[in-house]
């Protein structure tokens, strides 16, 4: 079971985006297979991690995507394990269930956040390097 998310991530990188309907089904699947439920509970009830049901910070799409991609504190990163499609599916799932109604998330949303973070990372690396120009 634990190999599956990694395998899926590897297999699906570079494939065209999936349909909205498919994405709607994949969200709950990824939530379970990537073990999000272990910390955030099923139905977003929380536990080790914060409660997602009724959490208004989920309104901020880019925040949710970034959180999943790079993790924070005790939450691990999933950017290296999940494709853009998968991140989009699970982000859409948590943002639109259990009382949350915050709208869709697409694979290109995820791609643009990855790009944004790569740019920030590159600039941070440049700022630390000995060369000034």
């Amino acid at each position: 079971m634990k190999y599956l998310s990694l395998l899926m991530a590897v297999a699906l990188l570079g494939l065209p985006s999936i349909s909205k309907a498919e994405q709607a089904d994949r969200g709950p699947q990824i939530y379970m297979q990537s073990r999000c439920f272990a910390c955030h509970g099923q139905l977003g009830t929380g536990g080790f991690g914060p409660t997602l049901a009724g959490d208004r910070i989920l309104a901020i799409k880019k925040f949710v995507i970034a959180q999943i991609l790079i993790g924070r504190g005790k939450m691990p990163e999933f950017g290296s394990r999940l494709s853009d499609d998968e991140v989009a599916a699970v982000a859409q799932y948590v943002r639109n269930n259990w009382g949350n109604h915050y709208g869709p998330v697409t694979a290109s949303d995820v791609a643009s956040v990855r790009e944004l973070m790569k740019k920030a990372s590159d600039e941070a690396a440049k700022a630390e390097s000995p060369q000034q120009q």
Partner: protein, 635 residues
């Protein structure tokens, strides 16, 4: 006259031929015996003698039998047998006993049908949930049947791995296994007829209740209110094992089976999809309301009555709203499952007050009017008398010390809560009475139409209660509370009492050291029976409560006493001993008496029980000595 003679000859030859034709039958001699093994022999009666019926609807009226756990559809647990009476019960002695080969809590009621006693053991020992058929007079073992339940079910059973008994109809015994199967067994041979999976242990579901057969349907409900299980009651066709209907306790109307026939007794119980609207989004999916207790039935109104468990989780702050239909009493049509009414004694339950206790069907004269009622000893400590045609509360009075609820408002049917005791996150609320198992839990009371009293076995406990946030992970507990129980005011922890539902008061009371967790039995001989957790089986005068007889058994009692008679008219009283259950788990399972919060807090109140008893199951069957018996009196 020759024509006449010829006719006579013809007629005569017909008369000779005709009997010969009938002498060799065109059908097989004994169709039941020649049937192939897989064929459904269930429809043939258990025996072909004319006097004995195998139909449950007839058996419930025959006092020689004890054909269902609650004795009859009204759930009276009363027998008209009076060979044993208050004058001779002191002579009662063991007739025979049978070891079930299991430890852990023995909650099941023995059944007795047409000369055979049927018992079932809990999930314990090498053959969990084993069923035994025994000869009523000498205890010979006729057959046993061991199902094949999944051992992992032990990990999702909240309150010991118990079963509350079997059911019988038309030559078949019906069994519920802990891991969620309904099974039909040939009552004569012990052969398996069908088995149907109803529950899923990976959802945290188990089945512990005794099934009830109504009009050819086996009624089975699930357990798991502590596991975030969504509760339901299912009807299974007794011949085929196929599910006929399933009524959920939470969710939209079409799944709770609420339709045009439904009318709630108060405004707040009427509305569309209340099983969804009285919850935060999606929380009804893990909302509890399981059906693990008793089901009674009124054949004239054609309504079944049963209650549902606490809503999940125990931490109420995670589920604002009334949480319908947890802690609710339902009236349903048994043919279709459609609800007629629902009444919720504990809206937005705060303290794990399930309302699965029995709803005894009685007609009472109240204020000079004959009323069709249910008497329901509430978990919350209030004795409810409810109009069973509408669900409206006629009276509700505290039958033990209650400080969590001040009163029940009869205009709205809602409890008036003691707000000072409302649990809030991280705060330890002290001295909440009754404790989570209530003033009375599943252990059933008995009603005597002779004395017009209800005989109530129950506990007397209070608790500390501290809530915490809990995440739902399917198959694991969904509770969110630290509980610590202890003896109520006065220091005693149990009571057996007689209650007058018309006068609305206690008539007599016997205090016990431990909770009285056994069921009650009362007979026309004016004797009431109950068992204590420290191994005493007692007979008391039904009018005065005076102790008349007692017997020291091998292990404490949490089972249900029954009575029946053999073919020679001998009256027997039977009960299975074997401590355990939620209250006795500390003595039967691997639970540490030094850690009070164990067993959902019950360890705190029962930590000294292992010094009195440990587990071990025996069916105890009592009768009068042969030279003491009177002839059975005419019915």
């Amino acid at each position: 006259m020759s024509g006449t003679r010829r006719l006579t000859g013809l007629a005569g030859s017909i008369l000779i031929i005709a009997p010969l034709a009938f002498a060799s039958p065109a059908w097989p001699q004994d169709s039941t015996q020649t049937a192939a093994p897989e064929a459904n022999t269930a429809s043939s009666p258990q025996n072909t003698t004319q006097k004995e019926s195998s139909d449950i609807a007839a058996l419930v009226k025959d006092d020689n039998q004890w054909p269902m756990a609650a004795k009859d559809y009204a759930n009276t647990r009363f027998s008209h047998l009076d060979e044993i009476n208050k004058d001779n019960v002191s002579q009662l002695q063991m007739a025979w006993s049978f070891s079930l080969g299991a430890t852990r809590g023995q909650e099941a009621a023995p059944l007795a049908v047409n000369g055979t006693v049927y018992v079932v053991a809990p999930y314990a020992g090498p053959h969990p949930n084993q069923v035994f058929a025994l000869d009523i007079a000498n205890g010979d073992l006729k057959w046993s049947y061991a199902p094949k339940p999944d051992p992992a079910a032990q990990g999702v059973a909240c309150c010991d791995v118990v079963t509350r008994g079997l059911a019988y109809d038309k030559g078949k015994i019906f069994l519920n296994t802990l891991d969620g199967f309904s099974v039909a067994i040939d009552a004569n041979t012990g052969k398996e007829l069908w088995h149907t999976k109803l529950g899923d242990i990976n959802k945290g579901e188990t089945i512990t209740m005794a099934p009830v057969v109504v009009k050819g349907k086996v009624l089975v409900g699930n357990a798991g209110g502590e596991m975030g299980v969504r509760g339901w009651l299912a009807a299974v066709d007794e011949e085929t094992g196929k599910i006929v209907w399933r009524a959920y306790s939470t969710g939209p109307d079409d799944e709770v089976l609420i339709g045009k026939d439904y009318k709630g007794p108060y405004d707040w119980l009427n509305g569309k999809d209340l099983g969804v609207k009285t919850w935060p989004p999606d929380k009804w999916k893990i909302g509890g309301g399981t059906v693990w207790g008793w089901i009674s039935y009124d054949p004239d109104l054609n309504l079944i009555y049963y209650g549902t468990s606490n809503p999940g989780a125990w931490n109420h702050e995670q589920r604002p709203g009334d949480n319908l239909f947890g802690s609710t009493i339902f009236a349903r049509n048994p043919d279709t499952g459609m609800a007629k009414w629902a009444y919720q004694p504990d809206p937005h339950d705060l303290w794990d007050y399930d309302e699965i206790n029995e709803a005894v069907v009685v007609d009472l004269t109240i204020d000079n009017q004959l009323r069709k009622v249910l008497i329901h000893p509430g978990r919350d400590g209030f004795m409810y008398v409810i109009d069973r045609t509408t669900g409206k509360v006629i009276s509700a009075d505290a039958y033990d010390y209650v400080n969590s609820i001040k009163s029940v408002d009869l205009n709205t049917g809602r409890p008036v809560l003691n707000d000072a005791l409302t649990p809030s996150l991280g705060k330890t609320v002290r001295n909440v009475c009754p404790a989570a198992p209530g003033a009375k839990d599943w252990q059933p009371s008995a009603w005597s139409p002779k004395t017009k009293l209800l005989y109530v076995p129950h506990q007397h406990l209070c608790m500390n209660f501290k809530t915490s946030n809990v995440g739902y992970i399917e198959g694991t507990p969904y509770v969110g509370a630290d509980v610590d129980m202890y003896a109520g005011p006065g220091g005693y922890r149990g009571e057996f009492m007689a209650w007058d539902p018309v006068q609305r008061k206690k008539v007599w009371s016997i205090k016990e050291k431990f909770p009285v967790w056994s069921g009650a039995l009362v007979t026309a001989g004016d004797v009431a029976f109950y068992g204590t957790m420290d191994r005493w089986f007692k007979a008391v005068d039904a009018n005065s409560g005076e102790e008349l007889w007692k017997f020291r058994a091998g292990s404490g009692f949490i089972g249900q006493p029954v009575t029946f008679s053999g073919s020679d008219g001998t009256q027997y009283v039977a009960i299975i001993s074997g401590v355990g259950g939620w209250s006795g788990a500390v003595a039967a399972a691997e639970i540490d008496p030094r850690v009070r919060n164990g067993a959902l807090g019950f360890t705190g109140a029962m930590q000294d029980l292992p010094a009195s008893t440990v587990g071990g199951a025996t069916l105890n069957v009592f009768a009068l000595p042969k030279n003491q018996k009177k002839a059975a009196s005419a019915q």
